[in-house]
């Protein structure tokens, strides 16, 4: 086995093994103790429900995924722009930052029913807005921290070069903020999927994973509800891995990201 393959095996094997053991334990427990499916269905039942409904689950995941993606992009763009403005205009930064901190403390999905009321019941917009606000917060906070972190040596060095503010932004602030941005993006991409799914719990269009979960529970089809949860887990993983790959692609061999 070549070394890189062994390294991948070394990082993947333990969680895989743990996952298999966990599922086996779950299956064994449910069967042995004869647990009712409305309490906890066996993994095998969830799996067969997922296989049965896979086209509909995938369609629902696409809907929720699109809401998450659109909201994520909007939130990330907003977060980066506002952080850049807050860095250039410290007065404005001082005004915005406490508000964002308050926003971070608020359970943002709690806004979902209120936003739903503002739009037509057939609109995806309120969900995307919930996602955007959720994604905005970690991106703004991390990028702001990254942009404002300039060491005294770099500041003096750039002054000795008579470098303009824009040159400092381009050569020092942006590159040193990149790892922070990606940390924010990773958090935001997970939050985006959570926000997209949960915001569907409060009525409106019935076409996403969250809607499938509530309607399956309403119809007492618990394995189907769990199958949709599985879909949401995979969707969340997809977003997280996507963010991680983008980070590797951009930062390349640079030092490990700061968390």
């Amino acid at each position: 086995m070549n070394p890189s393959l062994r390294r991948v095996g070394g990082t993947l094997l333990p969680p895989l093994l743990f996952g298999v053991l966990f599922l086996a334990g779950w299956q064994g427990f449910v069967r042995a103790a004869d647990v009712r499916s409305y309490v906890l269905p066996a993994p095998s039942d969830i799996w067969s429900a997922a296989v049965d409904a896979h086209t509909r689950i995938i369609a629902a995941a696409q809907t929720s995924g699109l809401n998450a993606l659109v909201g994520l992009v909007a939130g990330v763009v907003g977060g980066v722009l506002l952080a850049a403005i807050a860095t250039r205009l410290p007065v404005l930064g001082g005004a915005i930052t406490p508000l964002v901190a308050a926003l971070a403390a608020m359970p943002i999905v709690a806004l979902a029913p209120l936003l739903n009321n503002m739009y037509s019941p057939l609109s995806s917009l309120p969900r995307r807005e919930v996602v955007a606000i959720s994604a905005f917060v970690p991106v703004f906070i991390n990028v702001l921290r990254g942009l404002s972190r300039i060491t005294p040596v770099h500041r003096e060095l750039m002054a000795s070069y008579a470098a303009s503010g824009t040159a400092v932004l381009r050569t020092i602030r942006v590159p040193s903020a990149l790892p922070y941005f990606f940390t924010g993006l990773r958090v935001a991409s997970s939050l985006a999927v959570i926000a997209a799914v949960v915001s569907e719990y409060f009525g409106g269009l019935q076409n996403g994973l969250g809607s499938r979960i509530t309607s399956s529970v309403g119809a007492t089809d618990y394995p189907a509800a769990w199958a949709s949860v599985l879909g949401a887990v995979l969707l969340g993983l997809l977003f997280y891995v996507g963010a991680l790959l983008l980070e590797r692609l951009v930062l390349g061999r640079r030092a490990a990201p700061v968390t």
Partner: protein, 285 residues
């Protein structure tokens, strides 16, 4: 009065009555008082003194990173601000301050890039400089992969990128171990000789100041002022210089000056150079 024209004869640094007061919350702190100092072209001058004597402040005033409260600062015959805008000096700090995401070469190119030098020229100059500081094999490495001494050499190469006639250094070897430090001092002596640049070097190591300098400016604290200027004449520096009696004599002289005692007239400079040369020749045999 008209500004003196920049000529070959213009002093690298000229300070007249320079004072610096930092406004404090209760009372102002006088960091520097009435400093007069001239550094000739190609001359190596060290600033030494206890913490708080204002030596780093003085360096930053020469670099126009701080402005003096009063007095006049000229670099290469120009006002300090003009000299900074014209990139007349290169500067290195105690921390190398490299950009971790750039290769060694790209770090050295930074000032050239900021001042619009084209890619080809930049690259050629950077290659020349990694060679000069002995890091040609590490051109493509990134700073986190280098030792502290190597990082500092990259910082020095970067300071030399625009062929400045003046090199300002603020304790650049302060964070290095003793062996690396002596090696870097040898390198710096060679580089300063090769480039013909004047150097203003802040340190609080007496042997370092003596080994490197043509003159050691001894400063005293609160308020920071020049206590004494000790000329050092040791001839061309080699590793043997560090063991020469004259070297120790000069160290003693600087130490006494730092303590504020009258300097005993033991070092007769003119005679001693020959003596040192004789000793070095004997050592070589």
């Amino acid at each position: 009065m008209t500004e003196p024209q920049e000529t070959a004869a213009a002093a690298a640094v000229e300070l007249h009555g320079v004072s610096k007061t930092f406004p404090g919350r209760r009372d102002a702190v006088v960091a520097l008082q009435d400093i007069d100092l001239t550094v000739g072209p190609g001359e190596f001058v060290s600033l030494i003194g206890p913490s708080g004597c204002g030596k780093s402040t003085l360096l930053r005033i020469i670099a126009d990173l701080l402005s003096p409260t009063s007095g006049e600062v000229h670099v290469n015959g120009k006002p300090a601000r003009r000299a900074r805008l014209d990139q007349d000096y290169g500067i290195a700090f105690q921390q190398a301050g490299l950009l971790d995401w750039r290769t060694v070469l790209a770090n050295i190119e930074l000032p050239l890039e900021l001042h619009g030098v084209d890619r080809g020229q930049r690259k050629a100059r950077a290659l020349e400089l990694v060679e000069l500081v002995g890091l040609a094999d590490f051109a493509k490495h990134r700073p986190p992969q280098l030792s502290g001494g190597m990082q500092q050499r990259v910082a020095i190469a970067r300071a030399l990128a625009e062929s400045p006639t003046l090199l300002l250094m603020d304790e650049p070897f302060g964070a290095l171990d003793e062996m690396t430090r002596e090696h870097m001092q040898n390198e710096l002596v060679r580089i300063a000789g090769d480039t013909q640049a004047a150097v203003v070097f802040v340190t609080h190591s007496i042997p370092e100041a003596v080994f490197l300098s043509d003159r050691v400016v001894v400063m005293s604290p609160r308020p920071g002022r020049i206590a004494e200027i000790v000329p050092v004449s040791l001839g061309p520096r080699t590793d043997d210089t560090r063991e020469a009696p004259l070297f120790y004599a000069a160290i003693t002289q600087v130490r006494e000056a730092l303590r504020g005692r009258p300097v005993p007239e033991t070092v007769e400079v003119g005679v001693s150079i020959e003596q040192a040369d004789r000793e070095r020749a004997q050592g070589a045999l």
